[in-house]
């Protein structure tokens, strides 16, 4: 890890995120037309759907990075996978809350249990919510990384399977605006959605790099301290689920 500099390009990335996010907000509120059936409440779609998509992509990304750890045994892959899943969880919680607000405004209920899209997303989110307690429960760092990587790969593979299962389900209460092959959106709404999705994707990458840079710096400080004072005198790292 010491040779990797995650902070490189972070400023430019953050600036690009800010510009894209501002552009997305302008497009959402001043360019995209009002939806004929849902009206103004449809504006939630431009944050809810990108958050949910990026969250699920983040979980798959975490699984892919975990393969890197199992292949090489290098803990930097484990840390990358951990941060990817951590960010995915944050985005997922955002997607869940915004979806719930949309459901209340549209359907009159905060949550509908017989809707496959909602329940399946909740299952995925709860599955990945157990990732950190799993890490936390294992003391040995090597075992912790190995078990967490296996969990991340299996969980990551579960995400597309879950998506296919939901697509195959027959009960459709949740609006089906996007599928893998088509998007039932007018061009102006489509453009707004794409910019919004890009903005949240950039936000994910920026925060991922930011957290990686912070963890990397912290890890290097600890390593230097151990080198300087020796393993016994160095202040023990606080109990943390994060790999260091």
């Amino acid at each position: 890890m010491p040779s990797t500099t995650y902070g490189k390009g972070l400023r430019g990335l953050a600036l690009a995120t800010l510009i894209t996010m501002t552009a997305a907000l302008v497009l959402v509120f001043f360019y995209a037309p009002l939806d004929q059936t849902q009206g103004f409440v449809q504006k939630i779609f431009y944050v809810h759907v990108p958050l949910a998509i990026i969250s699920l992509v983040g979980f798959v990304f975490g699984g892919v990075l975990a393969i890197g750890y199992l292949r090489t045994g290098d803990r930097k892959w484990d840390m990358r996978s951990y941060v990817a899943i951590h960010m995915g969880l944050i985005f997922g919680i955002g997607g869940l809350i915004t979806g719930s607000i949309w459901a209340k405004a549209s359907w009159g209920h905060w949550w509908v249990w017989n809707e496959p899209t909602l329940v399946s997303f909740l299952i995925v989110l709860l599955l990945f919510a157990t990732y950190q307690p799993l890490r936390f429960s294992i003391e040995d760092p090597e075992r912790q990384s190995r078990y967490a990587s296996v969990f991340a790969i299996v969980g990551g593979a579960f995400v597309p399977l879950n998506y296919i299962a939901v697509q195959a389900a027959t009960a459709y209460v949740h609006p089906r605006v996007l599928t893998l092959t088509s998007a039932n959106l007018p061009p102006s709404m489509g453009l707004t959605f794409v910019v919004s999705l890009l903005a949240f994707a950039l936000l994910y990458v920026t925060l991922w790099k930011y957290e990686m840079a912070a963890k990397n710096a912290r890890s290097q400080v600890r390593r230097l301290r151990r080198t300087l004072l020796g393993d016994d005198l160095a202040r023990p790292a606080g109990r943390s689920a994060a790999p260091l």
Partner: protein, 74 residues
């Protein structure tokens, strides 16, 4: 400049659903702010650790110099 843009912008058809849309966007903003706040606290802790490390390095260097001086006197 931003105030001019806000006032120049066309009025939004908020209706009854305006509060829900506002709530959704505020939730996203709050999540981002909370994350940044947590990261800021961690950055402060890291700065403290770095300060402590710098002090340890200086102390070790001072001890090394003192040892060298003692050796040269002997």
């Amino acid at each position: 400049m931003s105030a001019v843009l806000v006032f120049a912008a066309p009025e939004l058809p908020l209706g009854t659903s305006g509060k829900y849309v506002a709530a959704a966007y505020i939730v996203v903003l709050a999540l981002i702010l909370a994350y940044v706040a947590i990261m800021a606290v961690r950055a402060q802790r890291l700065e403290r650790d770095l300060d402590e490390l710098r002090r340890d390095v200086e102390a070790a260097r001072a001890a090394q110099d003192a040892n060298r001086e003692t050796e040269s006197v002997l």
